[in-house]
């Protein structure tokens, strides 16, 4: 089979023919139509982008192509022969491999074991040889330029970015014909490694499907794009022919996608700061001092692993500082948790980083999820009904432009964008005057982003204070009045006004452009 596949690959490469062609794919879960009618075709040796809002059906399409889910209708061809994978391994047998967004690595196994599963090198007697496994893993890691990763290290002990790289490398290894990358840059701050590996793969004649929310990345590496909306493929376009505006319009329909609003700073310098950190230290953080004033939106920028995670956890009381002080409304507070934060002074509400594992409570309705922190306020002598919850959640949901009809749904059934809206509605609904938002628009679509930005701005205009971290610089430039850049566990620089530009931020994030960063290759 491999010889014919390679012959085909050769002929295919010369013609630029299709590797994978799918048409009319449909998938329903009970009454829910996850995918209505999707067509997609990948060209050998090219990177093809899949674009769409959250809930547009991208994940379902990826799962079908990857073999994890079987379609109810539709046809798929791989190199001209019918392709109907019944499992992930079946797809892998046809040289189709996928790197999943939520990572499919087993945390308590080693890097090498994860790489080689389900077949590990055996000694006589059927026992697995730990040494041979490790050596094979080391070779693979070297092949994909990940030499600094120890093949015998337990995956769970590695930083998220390394785990993502391993997930991608494993897919690269198994992708003889088709490589599917679902949000491969979600935890990667820079793309040079990834793009280099993709280039090597396409040179072999592999067709790549690339799913990302970051249009600039997509433009950099993809030639063609298919846009999904509401479970159907809307169009397949050459990216060189389509402007950002065109693509946004295809993704969201008629809505205007990008509106830049320059905010008049209404920061009240005279009043005491809502939140003040004084020489705050943690295990990853040294001597962080800042003030957050009423009406101010303060951004935090930094490459991965600069202590931003810990900064927010310290401020929310989820981690204990090794030194320094947190003051709320001018009074020192010993933060013991998000509940304490909510009750300190004028209140601090926290939006955690990981929506699925730290944010939403799946199984409970969206309304319950929204009103949970302020439930005692809306209850009638500690009793509460779903009706009361929905009523109270409605006001908060309106502030983030979240449709009312979703409130009675199990939040786990909502799209990522609506989940995020619900979580932001929750922080707004608490009545807290300070918001700590960690990556508030992470992994959400353009439309949701705009609603979230609008809600944050309105909150600040009304005198609220916001501290937010974002991995996307345009977001910081658009939204923040002021920005702190974390580098080397410290606040490296701060920018305000005209100085707050993407170029300046990038320079500061790299420590003034000096390229002396630790292990990972840095752009």
């Amino acid at each position: 089979m491999s010889s014919t596949a390679s012959q085909q690959a050769k002929s295919v490469r010369s013609e630029g023919a299709l590797t994978l062609a799918a048409s009319g794919l449909r998938k329903t879960y009970g009454p829910t139509v996850a995918l209505e009618k999707a067509d997609i075709s990948l060209t050998s040796g090219q990177v093809h982008a899949l674009l769409g809002e959250n809930g547009a059906g991208k994940s379902t399409l990826v799962r079908i192509l990857a073999g994890a889910v079987q379609p109810d209708a539709g046809e798929m061809y791989l190199d001209g022969t019918p392709y109907r994978p019944t499992s992930l391994m079946d797809a892998r047998g046809r040289a189709v491999a996928t790197a999943f967004q939520e990572l499919s690595l087993v945390p308590n196994l080693t890097v090498a074991q994860n790489f080689l599963l389900p077949d590990l090198p055996k000694r006589r007697g059927g026992m697995v040889s730990a040494r041979a496994t490790s050596e094979a893993g080391k070779e693979w890691l070297a092949k994909y330029e990940l030499d600094w990763i120890d093949p015998s290290a337990t995956v769970g002990s590695l930083p998220l970015a390394d785990r993502q790289r391993i997930e991608i490398a494993r897919a690269l290894k198994n992708a003889g014909r088709v490589l599917i990358l679902d949000e491969p840059t979600a935890s990667l701050a820079e793309t040079s490694w990834l793009f280099k590996q993709i280039k090597k793969t396409t040179d072999r004649g592999v067709g790549v499907l690339y799913i990302s929310h970051r249009l600039s990345e997509v433009r950099e590496i993809c030639m063609q794009a298919t846009v999904l909306r509401n479970g159907a493929s809307i169009a397949s376009v050459a990216l060189s022919d389509a402007s950002d505006g065109d693509i946004f319009e295809m993704m969201v329909g008629h809505r205007a996608a990008h509106k830049r609003v320059v905010r008049d700073t209404k920061v009240e310098a005279t009043r005491p700061p809502r939140l003040r950190a004084n020489g705050l230290c943690g295990t990853d953080l040294r001597d962080v001092t800042f003030e957050l004033r009423p009406g101010e939106v303060l951004g935090v920028a930094g490459l991965e692993g600069q202590g931003q995670h810990e900064l927010f956890r310290l401020l929310a009381g989820l981690a204990k500082p090794n030194g320094g002080q947190i003051e709320v409304d001018g009074k020192p507070v010993k933060m013991t948790g998000p509940r304490k934060a909510l009750k300190s002074g004028s209140g601090i509400a926290y939006l955690p980083e990981e929506r699925k594992t730290e944010g939403i409570l799946g199984g409970l309705s969206a309304a319950t999820n929204i009103v949970l922190p302020f439930m005692p306020r809306i209850a009638a002598s500690t009793l509460i009904s779903p009706g009361m919850e929905t009523k109270a959640a409605r006001a908060a949901a309106q502030r983030v432009d979240m449709s009312e009809r979703y409130l009675s749904f199990d939040i786990a059934d909502l799209s990522g964008g609506n989940q995020q809206k619900a979580l932001i509605a929750r922080t707004l609904g608490t009545g807290a005057q300070t918001l700590l938002l960690f990556d508030p628009s992470r992994g959400v679509d353009v439309g949701t982003k705009q609603s979230i930005y609008a809600a944050i701005r309105k909150f600040a205009d009304e005198g609220g204070s916001v501290l937010f971290y974002s991995s996307e610089l345009p977001e910081i430039v658009q939204l923040a009045d002021r920005c702190m850049v974390l580098y080397g566990s410290r606040v490296f620089r701060s920018f305000t006004g005209q100085e707050l530009s993407e170029q300046n931020l990038v320079a500061a994030m790299l420590g003034h452009g000096r390229d002396e960063h630790d292990k990972g290759p840095v752009a």
Binding site: T28, Y29, G30, P31, T32, V33, E36, K37, D39, R229, N230, G231, A232, S233, I234, A235, S236, M250, G253, A316, L318, G337, P338, R339, A341, L342, A349, Y350, P352, T357, E358, G359, I360, L361, G362, G363, L364, T368, N369, L372, P373, M375, P376, A379, T382, L383, I384, S385, R405, S408, F409, D410, D413, R426, T430
Partner: protein, 341 residues
């Protein structure tokens, strides 16, 4: 390739489907509760065909009185399971309640009214110790409550020197053997208890906190839920429920034994599971649990009335739990929906 004109026509369909997804999810739990309730009634009145003595009103009364014990126990057990824990100390707290009630009543000098709150307070303290072990010492709930069970049982053995004495306090006898408005008091108490338990679990702020903590502790903490209190109180409630049942059992059978609680542990867990709760926490309703508890009680009554030998009775009981599990599993509901068309 597809053109953009096709999409808008499919849009309304898509949203409509998304809507029914929400309602289907809600109805799953309702389906479980209703099917368990229907099964109960069918069994209860269908049994008439096996033996005319079954299915009579007095039979129903017996089932409800016996069911009262299990409903109270599985309420506490259900709350603990909802937080993601498990209470294996129920046999010990039942026995603790029973033995303390009889021996304190036996001393004669203590005022009788005082016994009920005092016994429940002691049991609550046992629950508090379990909670401290689980939350502060981070002992797995399974191990912590099992250890508490061994400790309390052994302490009771020492306290009674192996032979429980005393007699049932008046308050216990009054609870189990009197009538209110022409109905036996335990049945009235059952109705009040089910109503209160439902309000607490499904319609109170604290109930919501329990669901939140059971679903995801980290997310609940981030949402400002008082996590420690929410994890602690179910253990205390469960222990108090155990103690209360101990007192009630003493009132029902007029005496306490050192093993009086042993037969209630597995049924209390089974009732919660049959009622459609997830043993991993975060999902389940009290009404489902009540259905599960009554179903188990009905079964026990019918099986013993059939005159089967003990071993066969046990096999039938286990098989019916298994059948209930097979019928109520989530997979089946999903399959019915996806293959139904």
């Amino acid at each position: 390739m597809t053109t953009s004109s096709k999409a808008p026509s499919s849009h309304p369909d898509f949203t409509k489907n998304a809507d029914s997804r929400g309602s289907a999810k809600i109805s799953r739990e309702t389906i479980s509760a209703i099917s368990v309730a229907v099964l109960c009634l069918v069994l209860l009145f269908g049994a008439r065909f096996i033996n005319p003595a079954l299915g009579s009103w007095s039979q129903v009364e017996t089932v409800l009185i016996l069911g009262f014990f299990l409903v109270v126990l599985s309420f506490g057990q259900g709350l603990v399971i909802l937080t993601g824990g498990l209470d294996l100390s129920l046999p010990a707290t039942i026995t603790l309640g029973g033995i303390l009630a009889t021996s304190w009543a036996g001393t004669g000098d203590a005022a009788q009214w005082f016994i009920l709150p005092a016994v429940l307070a002691v049991c609550g303290a046992v629950g508090l110790l379990s909670a401290i072990g689980v939350i502060w010492l981070r002992v797995p709930p399974f191990i912590m409550t099992m250890a508490m069970s061994i400790i309390v049982a052994s302490a009771l053995l020492g306290y009674t020197r192996g032979t429980p004495r005393g007699y049932a306090p008046d308050v216990a006898v009054a609870l189990m053997k009197s009538d209110v408005l022409g109905l036996p008091t335990p049945i009235v108490a059952l109705v009040i208890f089910v109503l209160t338990g439902w309000l607490f679990q499904s319609r109170s702020v604290f109930g919501r906190y329990i669901y939140a903590v059971g679903t995801n502790v980290d997310a609940a903490r981030n949402a400002g839920v008082p996590v420690i209190a929410t994890q602690t109180i179910p253990y205390v409630i469960s222990a108090i429920c155990g103690g209360f049942v101990g007192i009630a059992l003493v009132g029902y059978s007029s005496g306490a034994t050192l093993r009086m609680g042993d037969d209630y542990l597995l049924p209390s867990i089974a009732a919660v599971v049959i009622g459609g709760s997830s043993i991993l926490g975060g999902r389940g309703t009290f009404l489902g649990t009540v259905g599960g508890a009554l179903l188990l009680t009905v079964l026990g009554t019918i099986i013993s009335a059939l005159g089967l030998e003990f071993g066969l009775r046990t096999i039938v009981e286990g098989s019916i739990i298994l059948i209930a599990l097979l019928l109520l599993r989530e997979e089946l509901f999903q399959k019915l929906r996806s293959f139904g068309k």
